[in-house]
């Protein structure tokens, strides 16, 4: 079977898998950003209990494998009465995992906002919440964006694991096609190229654009 024939026969399945992968990536990214912001801010809280909770969360999710977390959420969590549908379990596991990595990025970025900015906000009598929201976070965002670019690529790669709990993403589709046709080079090769295109020509340019956009937003062009 030539490669063109292969594509015309299995193209739509590969395409639908790619779409599922993209949706998973977007959902997991949204969750990861939310968790990273929350856990990153909690890590800087004055309260020991709040700080401790965030630290435990981050250490657990950074200290074990994404695959272990995924299996645990999918196979063990139901025993505690929390049953997640496989698609949900998939993006929740990826989002929580990358959220833990992101939390450290958020924390580092907030800490690297120059001290004068904190003092200036204090001097004009801003409340801590306003100071964080209006002064510190916008500047921290600029600092952390390049690191988020790498994290998003890791996240995209992480979504490939959800195929192992039978979510019909790109990885799952090509595995299925390979199982019936044994055209391993074509199936897995095509998937590798699609993941590469998603990472290199969609995520990376998007992050570059976001960086420029944010720079303009805070008036630092």
């Amino acid at each position: 079977m030539s490669y063109v024939e292969f594509l015309s026969q299995y193209g739509d399945r590969i395409l639908s898998g790619t779409l599922v992968t993209m949706v998973l990536t977007v959902l997991a990214a949204a969750l990861a950003v939310a968790i990273a912001l929350a856990a990153g801010l909690m890590r800087l809280a004055p309260n020991v209990l709040v700080r401790g909770t965030a630290t435990v969360y981050i250490e657990i999710f950074r200290g074990t494998s994404l695959l272990v977390q995924l299996y645990w959420i999918f196979f063990v969590l139901p025993l505690f009465g929390i049953t997640l549908e496989k698609f949900t379990a998939g993006f929740v596991a990826v989002g929580m995992n990358l959220g833990a990595y992101g939390a450290e990025v958020v924390r580092g970025a907030i800490l690297s906002v120059p001290k004068g900015q904190w003092e200036a906000a204090l001097a004009i009598n801003m409340s801590p919440a306003t100071r964080m929201r209006r002064v510190i976070l916008p500047q921290a965002l600029l600092i952390m964006l390049p690191a988020w670019g790498n994290l998003l690529i890791e996240l995209l790669k992480g979504t490939a694991l959800v195929a192992l709990i039978a979510v019909a993403d790109l990885m799952f589709q090509v595995k299925q096609i390979n199982g019936t046709t044994f055209l391993s080079a074509e199936t897995f090769g095509t998937a590798l190229i699609i993941y590469y295109i998603l990472a290199r020509f969609m995520i990376t340019p998007f992050m570059r654009w976001l960086e420029r956009f944010m720079l303009r937003k805070v008036g630092r062009v």
Binding site: F75, F188, A191
Partner: protein, 222 residues
């Protein structure tokens, strides 16, 4: 608590401990390949040949932006299609070694770039050959700034070994899944796997930080 059975836990623990040995072995082998191959990738991007630099640069980018689990499948299944049969272990080690070599080459690249240009000029004025300059002057100085990144990826490769279970390498995750499907109990095996990973990766990460500080002190860098 939540139907946790201790007798079952003690019964499966020996099997998981043996599998942990396999996991550590996979991580060790994979890392050894990655450390050497990563240096090759990094040095290949510093040759005068523009073509070689470009090809290696793109290959590293490609490996870094695609999922490891897919690469494992690719290496394992594509060989037989062309008459080359690889055992799960060999295929797994090639895939994971290549993947982390790409990451480590970036770490080395940063380290090599951080060596001041004057060192090169001094080596040239002493009439040292390029090889000698690299091994006696440049790499020893590039190593300390690379250590943090190298340590992170050591822990990283350890945490990525469960992916080898997809092609049947009998490591920790594979064993836990096997126990689960034999006994229909997933709570204990998967929880124990998580705990074993934590018990190894957290102290290792802490140990690496201590080692890194020690090296920096030894070399009089801080």
């Amino acid at each position: 608590m939540f139907d946790w059975r201790w007798d079952f836990t003690w019964q499966i623990l020996p099997r998981l401990v043996i599998a942990t040995g396999n996991t550590l072995m996979a991580a060790g082998f994979g890392y050894a390949i990655a450390v050497v191959l990563g240096l090759v990738f990094a040095l290949a991007q510093r040759t005068p040949s523009r073509t070689l630099t470009f090809v290696v640069r793109e290959a590293v980018e490609f490996i870094r932006s695609t999922p490891l689990v897919l690469q494992i499948f690719f290496v394992f299944y594509v060989g037989p299609q062309f008459g080359l049969r690889l055992s799960p272990w060999t295929a797994g080690m090639i895939a994971i070694g290549l993947h982390y070599a790409a990451y480590l080459s970036e770490v080395y690249r940063g380290g090599l770039d951080s060596v001041p240009k004057g060192q090169w000029e001094a080596a040239t004025s002493l009439n040292l050959s390029t090889t000698r300059t690299y091994f006696r002057v440049i790499i020893p100085q590039a190593l300390p700034p690379s250590l943090a990144g190298m340590g992170n990826y050591l822990v990283g490769i350890f945490k990525d070994t469960p992916m080898l279970s997809v092609i049947g390498v009998a490591e920790l995750m594979h064993t836990a899944t096997a126990i689960g499907s034999e006994t229909y109990r997933y709570l204990e095996p998967y929880t124990l796997v998580g705990l074993i990973f934590l018990a190894i990766s957290l102290p290792t990460a802490a140990g690496i930080r201590v080692f890194e500080r020690w090296v920096r002190r030894k070399l009089g860098l801080s």
